[in-house]
Symmetry: C2
Subunit: 259 residues, 2 copies
Amino acid sequence: MTYCVGVLVNQGLVMLSDSRTSASVDNIATYRKMTVWQQPGDRMICLMSAGNLAISQAVVNLIEEWNGSDRSGGVYGVTSMFRAARLVGDAIRSVYETDGKALELRDQPFNASFLLGGQVNGGQTRLFQIYSEGNFIEASDETPFLQIGEHKYGKPILDRAITVETPLIDAMKLALVSMDSTLRSNLSVGFPLDLMVYEDGMLAPKIWRHIREDDPYYSNIREQWSLALRRAYTEIPDPDWLSEPTATVHALGTPEPGA
Amino acid sequence: MTYCVGVLVNQGLVMLSDSRTSASVDNIATYRKMTVWQQPGDRMICLMSAGNLAISQAVVNLIEEWNGSDRSGGVYGVTSMFRAARLVGDAIRSVYETDGKALELRDQPFNASFLLGGQVNGGQTRLFQIYSEGNFIEASDETPFLQIGEHKYGKPILDRAITVETPLIDAMKLALVSMDSTLRSNLSVGFPLDLMVYEDGMLAPKIWRHIREDDPYYSNIREQWSLALRRAYTEIPDPDWLSEPTATVHALGTPEPGA
């Protein structure tokens, strides 16, 4: 499994991925799931993938082919992030044409999804989720974050805290907290992490970092967050329910708890 | 879908269930998923269910039959919580014998799971998770909480905060926070909630409450928790990564982010 999250706020973009790949619980490996293509001053495009590793690697390889050895085509040639998302979709469909039938014959799903974020000079910073069919959706003011892979553990904190107004560095902290919740609760997501923080208009990464488990700042976030959570629930006052009488006997279909 | 959580701490037991049943997103209803059987001073047994509603209702009905109109048999007759869990397992297997074949013929899984917690006079307070096959596992000092249904959203806070040493009322607050995270992030889990808090040795519920969305204490928990989470991440200091140089160009297979 995998967990990747992209957060798009007014100030910019945060992309964060884990690196665990598991064919099964006894077949675990580490692969980076983030690829950054950049031409400083012209474009910064970041792709993250979840699902079948063979598919996502083929997609990235194909895009690299299209980029060309002189980096003039492919994602370096597109005129907008919309066109970049289309290009990734084209690559997915091309891989499906090559590999899809053989997978289906073995009852293997063609399972891959992607988050693509970044900015092309002259356009806006945008974030897309691209499906295995090659079509895609875009993050918006109402839905400023997108997740792929093992997304449920890390969703509640984002649901509560992320808006487009969230400062970029806070969005980065929240993405790291969301990842930490996932890492703690699910063995199929693992270190190291790849983090890319992009400030709108910068056309180059602001922070681009490979984070290992012993990273001091990450450890600090992890500890502070645990501490804050424990403090938070102990500060919630007790209910006055304790002094109320409770119901006596429950009959099926007519439960009578103290309401 | 459903979310039910049981927490077993040294001081006692917390059982919490939602009440949303969905055949699909446009076919949603409210059903209680918690049943409490008690003989004050002798036993307090609480069952929660997730999965196919027809199966779980049949299981509860069958147990009620076994209890007898004079409440001397069934869960009122067992000599321990282990025997109570066996009895629920027997009821599940009996329903499988009746309904299993017809479900399988229509490719419908025999999908149901249960949490059973409580105490029988002379024994300990115990918590079990019972599978659709009728067998079961038990909560332990290392794993003091069990969940059924839509469990992922509400797991991180329990993973971080619950131990057997957690005071009973704090365990209740954490269960409510875990439920709130699930309610916020997943439409298939919904109000009202059923809460049962049991203090070890009491042989009757300490708190047994039907919680609607406008419940003042629940609203208070919800607000305080959101506030605490937002405060928590803003208190995390910024990293010193900002001042470090980032890598320039990414070549496939040899990513070079600032490490």
